[in-house]
Every structure is written in C-alpha cells, then in structure tokens.
Symmetry: C2
Subunit: 510 residues, 2 copies
C-alpha cells in the first residue's frame, strides 16, 4: 500500500443537496451541478461527462450539465425529471456523487461496432447495462447503428431476442396455445387490435395483448384504447383480466416485458434506421415475454409506410419466422396494403369511434378497418387446435356480426376498470378540395403530422377525420378531411401546416 | 389548392421570449420550453424532438427539453449556453421556432450505416450539416459508429479528409515546404511540440502549429503553452507570428481549421472508438487546412496508450501516408515508446516547467522529453530541402544546446503577446512507496485521472509530479509522485482517488 504523507486521505465531500428544477429531458438522466462543485471540477466540464448519483439505496448514471446562473446555490444539484422519479427524490435530500465504474459491456459494444459477432452472453451483458440505465444516449445510438442494416445475422438476431426476453418479466399462461398479433406500424388509424382481440377471445383463445403509446405518431394502440378503458394495469391486474376474459389490451409500459427494447426504441425513432435484426428482436421479445406461443405479424407495405416493398416484406417475414422457430414459438407474417390510412379517424378518440362503429356493426363503419381486422383475426384463429383452414374468416365474421365480439370487448373494458364513450372535440374545421377530380394519393406521414399538430395524442379528441379514400371522385369544395382540436391555438397550428402542404390528400383534376 | 373553411389559416404564433438560465450542455444545442407552449404540444413532448430556433439573421437546430417548474413563464423559452452564444442571444429577445426542414444528408448517413460507400459529394453534404449544427448528438454518434473499425476504405478516407479540409478555412504560406508535427496522443506529459517547434523554426523552416485544449485529459498542448504565452490568436495574428518567427503554437479553436473534426471529436471521446479512417482524416485535415505540406506524426505505442501494438501502429502509418499522398502532401510516421508518461509533470504548469528545463539545458531536465523532442525534430528537419539523412539529429541537438531553440521559443512567445513564468501550486502532498522494490508499471489513464481530480487543466498549477520511472529502484517511504493543487477540496479528492487505486505506480517488492 502506498502511503500519503501527513496521514490518510481526507474524506470525500461528495454529497450535494437536491433542488427541484422540473426539466424534462425525456428518458435521459441529467444531473445539474454548479460550476464550482468538485465533481464538475474533477471532470473538467467535459462533454458528456457521466457520474453516478446515489440516493437511499438507489443509484443511476447521469450526464452532467453545468449551471452557471443562480438556479442552483453552492452545494446544490438537481436532476432531470426521469432521473428524479427513478431515484424517488425529494427536495433537500442529499445525493452522493461518484465516478461510475467502467462499463465492462462496452467492450462487447465495441466488438460489434468493429463488425465482430456477439454471442448470447455478450448480448446479456449489454442489455443488462442498457436496462440499468448505464448507457448514455450516445452509447445507445452506437448500439443501434452497429446493428443497423444487415449487421445482425440470423444467429445474432436469435441471441439478441433471447437476451431481450431474459432481461425482463416473463408471463406464463395455462394451455399450449397463447396467441397474439402485432402490426409493424407506420400506417395511421390501423387500430385492428381493438377488433381482433375481442374476436379471438370470443372464440375462446387466450390473447394477452400489450400495446405501446405513441412516441412520434398521433396515437398508439394504448392511447386509442385508453379513450375507451383504463390501460395502465400492472402485471397482476393484467393477469386477472386475461384469466377472466381470455384477452386484454393494456399498455406495455407498466408490465416491464423486454424493457431493453423500450430503451432502444427511444433512439431508434429519431435516428430512423430500419434495423431488420432489431425490429425482429423487438417484436418477438415482447410477444415471447408476454407468454405468447403463436403470433401473427401484420406488415403493411406502401411507399410512405415503414416497409416499402413486397421484397422487403418477404425478407423481413422469413427472418421473423426463423427467429420465432428458434425460440420455440410460431410466427406467421400477413402482408397488407399500406397505401393509405386505415379507417376514417386519426387520433385516439377518432380512431376509437371507428373501432366502436365496426364492433357495433353500424352501417357507416369503415369497411377497410373491418376487412383488415377480419383477415387478421382469421389468421390468428388458424392457430387454434383443430382449426379448419379457409373456414376461420367466416368464424371471425360470425363472431363480429353476432355481436359476440362487441360483448367481449365491453367485458374486457369493464374488467380493465371502466367502459367509456370517446369524447368529441369542441373545435373542427374542414379542408376542402380545390378542384373536382380523383383522389390519387394520401401522404401517411404528413396527414399524421396534421393530427399531431392538432394536439393528438395528448388531447384525446384531437386529430384528423378523413372523408375520401384513394380512387374516389371528389367535387370542388367538398371536404377532404376535417381537423379536430381542443384548443384554438392547436387548430391554427394544424391548419397552417395543412395550408403549407396542399398535396397531403392529392386530387388530380379530370 | 385546397381551401380551408372559414377563410385562410390563422398565422402561427411561434415567437417566444428568451430568459437566460445559464445551463451548459457543452456543445449540444438545447431549447428549454414550457409544457403548454404550442411547439411542445405539436411535437408531443417526444424524445429528442428537434426544432429550428431563429433570432435575427441566425438560426440553429436544437433539442427540446420541457420545463414544468416556474423557471420559465408562459411564452418564455431559454437556450443552453452554446446555443445562446451561437445566436448572440439577449434576455427579452424574441425567438422564432419552427419545424426544421428534413435533412437531405441523413440519406447519405443512412447509406453509410447500411454499409454502402460514400463518395466525396456525399461527405461534403454530411459535413456541411455537421458544421451547421443540424445533426443531433445521436446523429453524430451514428456517424462515428458507421465509420468505426475498418468501415472506411482508403478511397473513402481520402474523400472524407478532403471534405473536412474544404469545410473550413485553409491557410497558405509562402514557400514549398511548410512542416508540422502531430502526436496521436494518449500519453500524459508528452509536450514535445513546445520543443520541436522552436528547434525547427530556428533551423529556418516554416511550422504554423495549431494545438488543441484538453477535453478529457489533464492538459492539452494549448493549455500547457498558455501557461507560458497567449494562445488565443485569430488567423490574422497567427499569420503575423509565423511570418515574423517562422513558427507559432496557438490554440486551434479560434482559427476554424477543419471545424467538422472538432464536432465529431465531442462524441468520439465519450464513445471511445478508435476509428482509423476518422483518426487519419482528423489529423491530416487539420494539418492540410493549416497549409502544411510535410508532416511528421508521432505514434506512441503502449498498453495504456491510444495505439496498443506495433502492428496497429504500422497499419495506421500506412493509411496516414497513403491518404497524405493522395491529397498532395507528405506524411511520415514516427513510432515511439508509449509505456509511461513523458517528463515529470502532468498538468499545464508542471509540463511547462519540464519544457523550459529542456530548452534551458538545466541539468535536472527530463531526459526522455529531451530525447523524444530531438528525435521528432530530426524527423521534421529531414523534410528540409537539401537535408542530409542521418545528420538532422545532430542539427536539432546543436540548435537546442546552443540556446538557439530557447531564444526562438521566447521570441515566439513574445510575438504571441507575452512570455510568462509557470505558476506554482500552493498545496502539495506526496504519495510514498509502501515497500522497497522496483517500479514495474505506471497506469497512464489513472495517473491522468489523479491530475484531473487535482484541478488540471482549469487550475493551471495543479497536477501530478512523477518521481520515478519504469525500472527504477524505490525505497519504502520514498515519494512516488506528488499531487499539486490550488484548492484543499481538490487536493482531497485527488488523494482519495490515489488511495483507492494503489497500483497507479506499481512497485514490486524484490
């Protein structure tokens, strides 16, 4: 042991007093410190400095931001909202700051960045650090980039999927056939889940469905379902709903299935990379962790959808089926039309209205949403023991038309806590056709942007109601779509964007 | 044109009033907004939302952080310190917020992520957006990752280097031979630049040296030079110094040579990837932009240095020389010993003392710093027209021993504005050997950490003074190194770290 002259090293004075600043950096943990605090000094105010923050028995690694104004006094620190929650912090509490231990799993990440293959154990180490919040946003971006394109082969994709499943809760259900469905996404209004789940559950199968909230879209399935029933269930309550009704539609955020996936998605979306291996691992890990054994995956194909060609859909489908098989479950890919939004509504309440119209068999219910839901339900029903191929579409239709699916849906909503009517927006304004002609294109991404500008999904009744579909004739002055909003400012913002992008719904004069 | 019922779309109300919060996020541009502002609403509080912020004629793209406390009032916004400076902001000014245009160059980035080759024009587009601040940290991390390992071939490295040079200022000097030297780094105390430049300039060659400040190390060359003379010169003043004295040692941050490189480095360091192609482009683009035609590159090799094997040094050297040749300049790689720190001091003033001791020919001057500097100067002098191979080491030694190099150094310092004596730290404490034996290892990274904890480089006199070198015999109780500090807290912090890591200077009992 070396000796330090003049006695032992003085104790660290690493504690700072918390003050709440209320800064939301989304999921990134940030610690705010003053320029004269010793941790700042020792780190040299470096870019992306990472420190360990401990409070009570909890700790996390956060990125340093330095405050030079009087927001913080001497000896004070603050945390971003997500870090504040994660540490269960209180104003005045004393946090201990220290240098984080080096992350061993970064050598695995580095190996992948350099193009080497990563085995199951390596993925386990990387994902454990991801779930613990040890990786910075930069590390997560590097991980996603290193896996992008075709950089994960089949064996690595299998290993990644398995490690993702192992990294969180894993549900189990009685019986050998637990079914599920998933849509690869990118298509506004595609809320088939709310129709498929009650049909399948009414047929007697078990379908424990977890769904996501919107991150960059105007509504996630969980947002739309929340207009009709609570979705914020924990694992125990979810289990009781499924045991009672055979199915559920809950938000996945509370049940901690494949939590690494949730964290990777937060950087995948802004980067906008289509990483096939990671998409496969993301979809399948969630389903396998939810206890599903037989899964139908809807892949909408279209120029403004996530998957843009039949060839890309085929490659993705083969990979999904092969990885599922390796992990002991069955996946079947269902390619669908992704040329235009599904149904009429875009936004939580407007989509919920479409869903209820289909379930109730109303004459004006959107036919495309009905047909897509029946086709998917039929695919799922083919997994039932003793199912007759070719007969399941009729089974699905019968369950829908007889009202059995509606009754099952209402029962699921009540089991989840409540059955509610979708709200209506107080403000609406139509965007009308500038000429007479035919609707030849609808831009999925821009119509979704209009819905987001109008307030969806935070304002549940906000969004867009489409009045035309591809190939339909439109008269000059007839409404193309109506913007719904809860606040005048948001209505103005959405309409301004609509006025700047006149070809969102393209009418060709003829 | 579609028509909106009830008249034109209302005007956007996109202006917010600035309030200064003084939050330093290093180089990332962040805009702080309240939860109820319309831009926040329209973006749905999404992770990594990016908005364009315009003020006067300037604009940039910033990441949104949402403030839910009373830090900001209704209609107010704030900016991180770097964004505040970039927009030349004032409290009370009105900023305009809008959705940024899609970045066309992201398709080039995506192509590289997917493993395709990127040509010169593609690199130009990517780097233009990097320099304009259009890329988020996530995009920069993806770019660095996509280029890591061996993912840039020779042709791409040449194109990247050229695009980096084109993206900033480019200096020109009279004469056909403008020389330079560069160290690949990772070795504490390796301040040969301050000795090589005056030797070479005293020999009559032109050597316009720009250096970096420390980001994660206890001292950059610019930090050490700043203890002795001003380094914060602009291009015009730098030019006058070089024209007058033949050489200079200034901070590169004010002269805007290869600015994309500065921005990529901010994510490369925390990611800690050794991207060979990017390292080559980084080193050569700076030198070529500075107008150099003949460059010696020092590559220290050692287990805790940046380059860890002779094989890696050879591969790197070949790539450096090939890219230099393609861009019309000459590069020569000089492999050196990277097993331990150079000289005795680690930290700006302590390193400056070593440098002055060598220049003044003091008997106790560190022999290793002297020898390394002479070897490098000899390599640079071989570029001189008519140089005799084998004779340049003697030339360098003669210029050093005669005092010509010292006089040239003092002249350069005065031309840069001032010649100063390095300060001495008020607080010092020795760490002593716990046993008698031989010094068998020195951990470059951890000894640098001790120096940083003691306050270097912000506190210029702080740092570490090493008393032993590899292979030397040490008596129990004799000092291994002394920590220098300007504040008691920092001394304590450095000593605490030293006490926790007893093998920073490893003495084997024998």
């Amino acid at each position: 042991m070396p000796e330090i002259e003049g006695g032992d090293a003085p104790e660290l004075r690493g504690a700072l007093t918390l003050r709440w600043l209320g800064i939301d950096t989304y999921q990134e943990a940030v610690v705010y410190m003053t320029r004269d605090c010793h941790v700042c000094r020792s780190e040299g105010f470096a870019a992306q400095s990472r420190v360990q923050v401990a409070l009570g028995g909890r700790h996390l690694i956060a990125t340093v931001n330095v405050v030079s104004s009087s927001l913080l006094g001497h000896g004070e620190a603050s945390l971003s909202e997500s870090a504040w929650r994660a540490l269960d912090a209180q104003e005045g509490a004393r946090v201990q700051l220290s240098h984080p231990e080096p992350l061993e799993s970064l050598s695995v990440l580095r190996a992948k960045v350099y193009g080497r293959r990563v085995e199951l154990q390596g993925w386990r180490e990387v994902l454990a650090d991801v779930v613990e919040g040890h990786y910075s946003e930069l590390h997560l971006a590097a991980l996603v980039t290193a896996c992008a394109g075709d950089r994960l082969d089949l064996a690595e994709t299998i290993a990644l999927t398995q490690a993702m499943v192992e990294g969180g809760e894993r549900l189990q259900w009685p019986g050998s056939h637990v079914v599920d469905k998933h849509s690869v996404g990118g298509l506004p209004g595609n809320r088939t889940t709310l129709i498929v789940v009650p049909i399948v559950a009414a047929a007697g199968l078990t379908i424990p469905k977890t769904s996501s909230r919107a991150i960059t879209s105007p509504a996630g399935t969980a947002d739309t379902m929340e207009v009709l029933a609570p979705v914020d269930l924990n694992v125990e309550r979810m289990r009781r709903v499924v045991e009672q009704e055979g199915g559920c539609i809950v938000w996945g955020g509370n049940v901690r299935l494949s939590p690494a996936d949730d964290l990777l998605i937060r950087v995948e979306r802004p980067l906008d990379f289509d990483s096939e291996g990671q998409l496969v691992a993301s979809v399948l890990s969630k389903k396998i962790a939810a206890g599903s054994t037989h899964i139908v995956i809807d892949v909408p194909v279209g120029p403004t959808a996530k998957v843009r060609s039949a060839q890309a859909a085929r490659v993705l489908g083969e990979r999904l089926e092969a990885v599922a098989q390796a992990l002991g479950v069955h996946a079947r890919v269902h390619v669908s039309d992704g040329m235009q939004p599904v149904g009429r509504g875009i936004g939580p309440a407007l989509e919920a209205r479409d869903v209820m119209a289909v379930l109730r068999g109303e004459p004006g219910a959107p036919a495309d949403l009905r047909e897509r839901s029946l086709a998917l339900a039929a695919q799922v029903l083919q997994f039932a023991p003793g199912a007759v191929p070719g007969a399941t579409f009729d089974t699905a239709r019968r369950l829908l038309e007889s009202g059995a699916a509606l009754r099952k849906f209402e029962a699921i909503c009540r089991a989840q806590g409540d059955l509610r009517e979708p709200p209506r927006a107080p403000l609406t304004r139509a965007v009308n056709a500038g000429c007479t002609g035919m609707c030849v294109a609808i831009d999925n991404r821009r119509i979704a942007r209009v819905a987001k500008l109008s307030g969806a999904p935070r304002a549940p009744s906000a969004g867009v109601e489409l009045h035309v579909r591809l190939g339909e004739r439109v008269e000059k002055g007839a409404p193309l779509y109506t913007v719904h909003a809860e606040a005048p400012g948001e209505l103005a913002y959405a309409l301004s964007y609509a006025a700047q992008h006149v070809d969102i719904v393209l009418v060709e004069e003829r």
